[in-house]
């Protein structure tokens, strides 16, 4: 057994593909041989070239060898459209050559010889072989192909370069090359109902930890952006609590009083209620207390930043000024695209970048709509809320209940109320032919609170909780005090009738 003192640090090559290095625990290992596989159009070539240009920009030298049909001219023409492409690096630091004729004429041995000589003479530190399937087809036997891969591994070390092999094979068919290489990265373009989602998965990575499972990615003009699955990336949350026992004001004195001093810092509060019941209004109060020293973030799906500013203005708040002094940021994500992890990363990076301490996630069903696999959402939210707590951010989530009036509270998502520390319930009540908003605290972490039902009054000066309602009221069902009185009278009358009938029978 090798003593610990003899363990050598494994040098890594960062990829320049946002998110991929996090999946690979820091990047590809130097001298490793890796397969990147996927169907045509899945993004292999872009991923490899993005890595190449990043590597070259950091002083490395790259050789990109093609064994298949796409000409270098066509490939370069397509790559020119992407932001990472830097023509000044081509030829000197990133060289392209075709080895197809060499493979055809001299076979595997000739190809190895060519690669070794070219890599050595050009002092290559990253070698990409695009179309490794052509080598497999040329090999007389499986053993010859395995020998080729083995020799590549040896030369990777001797020449001092890392090798990427691009292939169209999929993990459904595990070829001999899969058992021999140091790692396999698969890229797929998955069709889910009418939507498509690109996904990347590392199925093998020798000598290193990595984030298992599928990770969504996107191809834009900037190149590839990988969004590591949030619950996988944040699977080991720290038990630290930067907030300790402090309280955070909700921006509503009457609500703070009901909470016995405000929300516990770093906690998550879910606000359940039907549309128009006052959830966003309470949330805007919370954000109005944002300061440059304790900034806020509105992360919404349905209302544009301009509408939020107008809504806040109607309550007497100047959100434009708060944005100017960098006390508040309004991020809007119309729920048109399904990429849950992209949203999660955007939320967390917005919080980390500005040290945000107050978050209003307005319309949690926007996340639900972005989830290709809705059963992930609880795990996703667990990871997000843990991370927000670690950042010292106190968060309010609004969840819309489907029914304006109902005797039951049907939560649109399972498990969310147990996941979050505090629960507020908003309801409408009909009283004297008028709809009134009711509010109650259902749960508050490790703390006493005033759980009485109160009317939530919204005026041009903001919202406030009125005095507790009368003892007869059952506002969470939507029934008014008056109607409850009638129900009570009816019950008393029927009891009298039953007593009269018994007396007659007797």
């Amino acid at each position: 057994m090798i003593a610990k003192s003899t363990q050598r640090p494994r040098e890594r090559l960062t990829t320049g593909v946002p998110g991929l290095d996090a999946v690979l625990d820091g990047g590809f290992l130097r001298f490793g041989v890796y397969i990147v596989q996927g169907k045509p159009g899945a993004g292999k070539t872009i991923l490899a070239n993005q890595f190449c240009f990043h590597h070259a920009a950091n002083g490395g030298r790259v050789l990109y060898v093609t064994l298949l049909a796409e000409t270098h001219e066509r490939m370069l023409f397509n790559l020119e459209q992407l932001a990472f492409f830097d023509s000044s690096l081509v030829a000197d630091q990133v060289s392209y050559l075709s080895a197809f004729s060499n493979l055809e004429e001299e076979g595997l041995k000739g190809l190895i010889e060519l690669l070794r000589r070219e890599a050595r003479s050009r002092k290559i530190t990253l070698l990409v072989i695009d179309g490794i399937i052509a080598v497999e087809e040329t090999a007389q036997t499986k053993s010859d192909f395995k020998k080729f891969i083995h020799e590549l591994q040896i030369h990777a070390t001797l020449v001092g370069c890392t090798i990427l092999l691009l292939t169209t094979a999929s993990t459904d068919s595990v070829g001999p090359e899969h058992t021999m290489v140091d790692g396999v990265v698969e890229v797929v373009d998955r069709r889910i109902a009418r939507f498509s989602e690109r996904e990347l998965e590392v199925t093998k990575f020798r000598g290193s930890a990595y984030l298992r499972g599928g990770h969504a990615f996107r191809i834009t003009r900037e190149g590839i952006d990988v969004y590591p699955r949030i619950e996988s990336l944040l699977q080991d949350p720290s038990p630290e609590d930067p907030c300790q026992a402090a309280r955070v004001s909700t921006g509503m004195p009457s609500l703070d009083a009901a909470l016995h001093g405000g929300l516990p810092c770093g906690t998550g509060t879910v606000m359940f209620g039907p549309t128009g019941s006052g959830k966003t209004t309470v949330g805007l109060h919370f954000l109005n207390d944002s300061r440059p020293s304790g900034p806020g973030l509105h992360f919404g799906f349905y209302e544009t930043p301009a509408r939020i500013v107008r809504k806040a203005k109607a309550l007497g708040f100047d959100f434009e000024a708060k944005q100017k002094e960098r006390a508040l940021e309004l991020l809007w994500h119309p729920p048109t695209e399904r990429m849950l992890d992209a949203l999660g990363h955007r939320l967390l990076s917005a919080v980390r970048e500005r040290g945000v301490k107050r978050v209003l996630l307005d319309g949690i069903d926007g996340l639900l709509k972005a989830a290709v696999y809705p059963d992930r959402l609880t795990h996703f939210l667990t990871a997000v809320t843990n991370e927000l707590r670690l950042q010292g951010a106190t968060t309010m989530y609004s969840v819309e209940l489907p029914d304006l009036f109902s005797t039951q509270v049907a939560l649109p998502m399972q498990g969310i109320s147990s996941l979050l520390e505090n629960v507020f319930l908003f309801r409408f009540v009909e009283q004297n032919s008028e709809l009134r908003r009711l509010f109650t605290i259902v749960k508050l972490r490790d703390s006493n609170y005033d759980g009485t039902l109160r009317e939530l009054r919204i005026t041009s000066h903001g919202a406030e909780l009125a005095e507790p309602l009368g003892s007869e009221t059952s506002g969470t069902t939507g029934k008014s005090a008056r109607s409850l009185g009638k129900v009570g009278a009816t019950k008393a009358a029927s009891r009298k009738r039953r007593l009269k009938l018994r007396a007659r029978k007797a």
């Binding site: 090798i2 003593a3 003192s5 003899t6 050598r8 001298f31 010889e113 070794r116 000589r117 050595r120 020998k147 083995h150 020799e151 591994q153 040896i154 030369h155 070390t157 001797l158 020449v159 001092g160």
Partner: protein, 122 residues
Amino acid sequence: MKTVLVVDDEVGLADALGDVLRDEKFDVRIARNGMDGLKRVHEQRPDLILLDYMMPIMDGCEMLKALRADASYRDIPVLLMSAVATSNIPADCTVTAFLRKPFDIDTLMAELERLGMTRSPK
């Protein structure tokens, strides 16, 4: 032209080292284990031996001891190659130099230069 004997049971590596050293204009012989290596030494005395440590039949240290026991081969420089650290190699396995696997060509060439194995003119 200087002669280098590469003794390694890892066929791919021995062949690859052979290719690299031939590029550098060395005359290269290859053996698959210590026993085979001793046979090659007797056939033609090399100027340097690149010797793997862990091999079947006869390992690198056993071959080295046999070589050092013969006065006519005692002074041949031996560069021991191994994936294990020097601390895991027996103390009586005294070699001229040690290369920890994996190593790259530049490291190998620098070691050869240090041992006075200057490349033949190309």
